[in-house]
Symmetry: C2
């Protein structure tokens, strides 16, 4: 039998970890909180990267690369920023090791102490705005629309594969603009790119909204986010886009000469998604048999398994399988033909279910006689017999159907687990059952904090484009302009 995965109902958290490890996506490393992204997991990340990179370039952005290290003094230049990141950062203090004078092994060479400590970037606003100072003189140098693919480090105390790791991979866009309006437009444009990506590629429906002041990025005037619902009813923040105002321009003295001949501070946005998206992808769709991958991001979209006894049967089946494989590949579909002979086909079936391969084709001797193929869908776990003739076209359309079915299922789940609640009593009862709760809030950090302390629920976002139904705060009874989204979260 295939590797055993814990059931969601028994232990959701263990189920998630089992999936990540047993499907070969990632594992913990010898370094606390740092993961190894294994080839199968990295192949999904490469597809995520390629698609996002395409969408960034289509919206006018270019890539660049900035240093891994940030001088300690840079972090301090923006007051809220240092407050947000100082407590969880890796600090480089020395640049050399030496042989241990007292024995074997190596020790830090005390002579090689850095004059100023370097922080391994937790995010790059400071080093980038220090650089932009040299790039920007006049309005003709604006806008700057730059993205960086990089690793960052945040020394979190509790870590979980993909969801929250000390080191993670991400992209961070950092843009510079002549006006406030342009910077806000960019901030909104990018959260919309993230929404489109999440829904069309990850097949995960997301709410788009703004964070409350207390949940904002350290140094931002406004943080926009996309929030997804996981199968345990918890929220997962899947991407953020920040309007930074002139905060970093002021901290690093970045000004430009306007068309009117005046020196003005530059306006900024930053936006990012990370390998956390892998966690969202896994938790949103998978089941007790293993991963369920949306076809557009699956490293293997179709697997063909021969069912045979003896070399002669295999040879005939292989000829047909390879023919189908070639035709699928010609349409840009990635296919694996697994004729390995060291495991039974039942084992293979379970293994590809675990790995979330969207479509499995099985061909046996009877299929060869009848001109048929057994087609199995990973998402619904259903099987059907199909004629070999036309199978390529059928599989191609089936992959599209699976993509939309997976999204529709996740959307239905979210709808069924989103509740409007008007009293704090109802709220406390509902939050124990999970889901998104739409409730009225008086807009104060005090009420927000009280709810968080008493229920562990946070305001995930103030939704954009939702209905602007006025009401009364469920806690204080004070007026509220619209419902906000509460949930427990990852």
């Amino acid at each position: 039998m295939a590797k055993e995965v814990t059931n969601r109902a028994d232990n959701y958290s263990q189920w998630y970890n089992d999936l990540v490890v047993k499907a070969g996506l990632a594992e913990n490393s010898a370094v606390r909180g740092c993961m190894v992204i294994k080839p199968y997991g990295y192949a999904i990340w490469e597809k995520i990267q390629a698609q996002l990179d395409k969408m960034f370039k289509e919206t006018g952005h270019v890539n660049a690369y900035f240093p891994l290290f940030i001088p300690k003094s840079f972090l301090s230049k923006e007051a809220e920023h240092v407050e947000g990141f100082a407590k969880e950062c890796a600090v480089v203090t020395h640049h050399r090791l030496m042989n241990d004078p007292n024995g074997k092994g190596v020790v830090v060479d005390p002579e090689a102490k850095l004059e100023e400590e370097l922080i391994v970037r937790p995010t790059s606003e400071t080093i980038i705005w220090n650089t932009y100072k040299g790039w920007i003189q006049s309005y003709r140098d604006l806008p700057i629309l730059v993205n960086q693919w990089a690793n960052v480090v945040r020394w979190e105390m509790r870590t979980r594969l993909f969801l929250s790791t000390a080191e993670f991979l991400w992209q961070e866009g950092h843009t510079a603009h002549a006006t406030r309006e342009e910077a806000i437009e960019e901030t909104e444009k990018m959260i919309n790119v993230y929404q489109k990506f999440a829904e069309e590629f990850l097949a995960v429906p997301v709410l788009v909204g703004k964070k409350t002041a207390s949940e904002r990025f350290a140094g931002a005037e406004d943080t926009y986010c996309i929030e997804a619902m996981m199968q345990d009813g918890k929220a997962l923040q899947a991407g953020t886009s920040h309007f930074l105002g002139q905060n970093f321009a002021k901290a690093f003295e970045v000004t430009y000469l306007s068309k009117e001949g005046k020196q003005e501070f530059v306006w900024a946005s930053s936006w990012g998604v990370s390998t956390r998206l892998m966690g969202a992808l896994i938790m949103a769709h998978s089941d007790d048999n293993g991963l369920v991958l949306p076809p557009v991001l699956a490293p293997i979209q179709v697997v063909i398994v021969p069912i045979y006894k003896g070399a002669e049967e295999l040879e005939k089946i292989s000829a047909k399988a390879n023919e189908i494989k070639a035709h699928l590949a010609a349409r840009g579909i990635s296919v694996k033909y697994d004729d390995s002979d060291n495991v039974r086909s039942g084992f293979k079936f379970a293994e590809y279910e675990l790995k979330g391969v969207p479509v499995r084709l099985a061909i046996g001797p009877r299929d060869m006689q009848n001109g048929t193929v057994e087609v199995a869908r990973r998402d619904t776990l259903t099987k059907e017999m199909k004629p070999q003739e036309g199978i390529v076209e059928y599989v191609e359309s089936l992959l599209k159907e699976i993509q939309s079915t997976i999204f529709a299922k996740a959307e239905k789940f979210r709808t069924e687990n989103t509740f409007e609640v008007d009293t704090y009593e109802q709220f406390k009862e509902q939050i124990e059952k999970g889901g998104f709760i739409m409730a009225h809030w008086d807009g104060t950090p005090e009420t927000e904090e009280k709810i968080k302390e008493e229920t562990k629920a946070t305001i995930r976002c103030i939704p954009l484009g939702g209905k602007m139904e006025a009401g009364k705060c469920m806690v204080t009874g004070k007026p509220s302009a619209q419902r906000v989204v509460f949930a427990r979260s990852y």
Copy 2:
């Protein structure tokens, strides 16, 4: 006029730095030895990455990602390895900052000292072989053919943009095999991939050979390399592939159960190229006017510049230019149409020369009457008039011709600057003039060291596939099986 670049003849080193900075490829950052790779430079690196990644996948490799940090004790497990890297590594000792109790700003929190220091990876053999221990049980788990795209840090004292920086970007392949023969085959296969890439894409001819024992990678049994000649006659090591024997398998106790049922240590290779390739690319081809980029790696392959007076002329020219641009783009050629109105066309010409755009098309009012285009080649700085009809096909074939002309020019330069020398006197005279010197050497590290001390020349490689002409060491007169390649180097 365009930004001034120092002449090669006046100051080669300054010329290189000017080019890198003024063409907008990279610049120094606020962090000692760490560079910012600017969008134009990064666009070239993206093309290098995409092509290499394709070639790695075609040879059966997959990508993965391993931690940025390496526990200090891991480095010590392979004796030569730690010797090679301990003296130039960034050491993380703490995981938190705190507000300075004596004033403003932040300081390292002494309470947050790590139990074991972490090294920012200078290369990943140790963390990867520690991971492979968990991946390999039997011969069925082999080979492992993994590559990683990553940043690494080596705290070099003298740094130069792209050529030698404290942080750089690279790929590192790490493979595991059941037999010595297979690991050697892999090592050789990958140095051949690097050669093919260097010659067909960078348009830089390279010598393939083995390093002498004293120039080997720290922990390798054999290091293969590709060596390129720069325009000042110095050598630049552009890529290496190491046969690691069982050194890392033994250090991390990685064994497998063979088909015959015996526990055996695993055999290894590792291989890498880095952003140093950018340095090779720039120094091999460029001239006093700026960059000369091989068309296959140029972010902009063709620029079209309109020559006009007034809006009416511009409108007609733009219609034609955009038509040509669309047809070129349809053939996968990247084209920029520069109709910006804030600088003169002479300035644009100089700017695109500086940036190394391979082909420039200029269209003026007379061209519109005559149905012609002015075609300028960046590599030869020649211009010719061509009919607009058939221009797309002409430019497409011209780009191919430029690619091979650039390679041929570099190859001719190398041939003219490669010398066979038989006496140490001749050698000392020639090495001052630069170039590769093919000479006999007795095979001892003592003689190698003496030559290095007296002439600053090192053995770049013992060439593979060269003629095996026996002779006598130019220094000691002892027998030598073949000539080796000496040069001063970057």
